[in-house]
């Protein structure tokens, strides 16, 4: 539901990431990493992205979404595992004391720009 705001932030960050020597260049692709624990629906985000890129240097750009798994680390027995259902208990020792190593990401990894040279 907040995908519109997220899409607008992506456009702002992507625009600001165009190097000074490529002023006026068009962005062709935005590579995004989204953790599976994020409250983001990929289809909604793409829909919003397509709307907000109109009349910007991103017009016509593709949003590539790479999904990252939820990986946890048990603080008690050091076991490391991929969380595939909403259960945050260590499968090895049943401890609930854990760190989430990945799965909360919402990051722009890179942008791809058309290069005139």
């Amino acid at each position: 539901m907040h995908e519109m705001g997220i899409a607008m932030e992506i456009v702002e960050i992507a625009k600001a990431s165009i190097p000074a020597d490529m002023h006026g260049a068009k962005i062709q692709r935005v590579n995004l990493q989204v953790g599976k624990l994020s409250a983001i629906v990929a289809d909604s985000l793409r829909f919003c992205f397509d709307l907000v890129i109109k009349e910007t240097p991103l017009e016509g750009a593709e949003l590539v979404i790479e999904e990252l798994p939820v990986v946890a680390h048990c603080k008690d027995c050091q076991h490391r595992w991929t969380v595939t259902e909403p259960v945050f208990l260590c499968p090895a020792c049943q401890s609930g004391s854990l760190d989430i190593l990945s799965g909360r990401e919402l990051e722009i990894k890179s942008i791809e720009i058309e290069d005139e040279d």
Partner: protein
């Protein structure tokens, strides 16, 4: 979300980005496009950077002024405003409270809360595009209308929604989620991010339990799997049953910060 993978996979069948096929797809594309002249520029920036930076600023301001901030979240109709009214009535004699209330387009909640005597700032997110959550910049604007020197506890009643508010840091100290038993015991598993991000759960409207098929054990087990060790308070904002434990927990959190 947990259903994210399914949605993504569904899309793949229509010929978009399959995570398993990603490398191949991307590689093929990259070679092709680079030949026709594209340059990849590493960015590596969190999309919510701007919000997080503002939340950090707010958190520092609250710490300096000695204000404890509670972010209250729930779905619409969970009884959040009534819970807050009753909470204020019990806690106000001892702590100086203020409330920021987010609502898409009415002042009904703010009017109800103002009866407590606490300063209330209403945010209508309508002006900000009918948002489904309160972001840090909106809270910052609301805070400007409050005298932080005269406040010990600031409660932010977020927009009724179990999805989006979980994603946005607003500079709070603790987060609680209100889930009413009329919503069903399956909600924690459906909205795991919210229940992982919160520090306590209020299971509200337990006065209705005799009329419902709500499975309290299942609800508690499900919450305990998502967020092991998180306190769960069974309350009724109507009868105030369970309020002693909830208020006791909240006051202990405030004291821990302000001492």
């Amino acid at each position: 979300m947990w259903f994210f993978a399914n949605r993504l996979t569904k899309r793949n069948h229509r010929g978009h980005h399959d995570p398993h096929d990603h490398h191949h797809h991307d590689h093929g594309h990259a070679v092709e496009t680079r030949r026709s002249g594209t340059r990849e520029i590493q960015v590596v920036r969190r999309v919510l950077d701007a919000n997080d930076a503002m939340a950090a600023r707010l958190r520092a301001a609250f710490a300096e002024k000695g204000v404890f901030v509670l972010n209250m979240m729930s779905s619409p109709g969970s009884g959040k405003t009534t819970t807050l009214q009753k909470t204020l009535a019990r806690i106000m004699p001892r702590l100086r409270c203020a409330v920021i209330v987010g609502d898409i387009c009415t002042t009904v909640d703010a009017d109800r809360l103002a009866q407590s005597g606490a300063p209330v700032v209403q945010i209508n997110t309508d002006e900000f595009g009918g948002d489904c959550h309160l972001a840090a910049h909106v809270v910052e604007r609301a805070v400007a209308g409050l005298d932080l020197d005269g406040i010990d506890l600031l409660i932010v009643e977020n927009i009724g929604n179990l999805v989006c508010p979980a994603e946005f840091d607003i500079g709070e100290d603790k987060r609680v989620v209100v889930l009413s038993v009329t919503e069903g015991e399956d909600k924690p598993a459906k909205y795991p991010l919210m229940f992982r991000e919160c520090d306590a759960t209020l299971l509200n409207k337990i006065d209705l339990l005799p009329y419902l098929d709500f499975d309290m054990d299942l609800a508690r087990t499900s919450i305990a799997k998502i967020h092991p060790g998180m306190p769960v308070f069974e309350i009724s904002a109507k009868t105030e049953v369970g309020f002693d434990d909830w208020i006791g927990w909240l006051e202990a959190q405030v004291k821990k910060k302000l001492q």
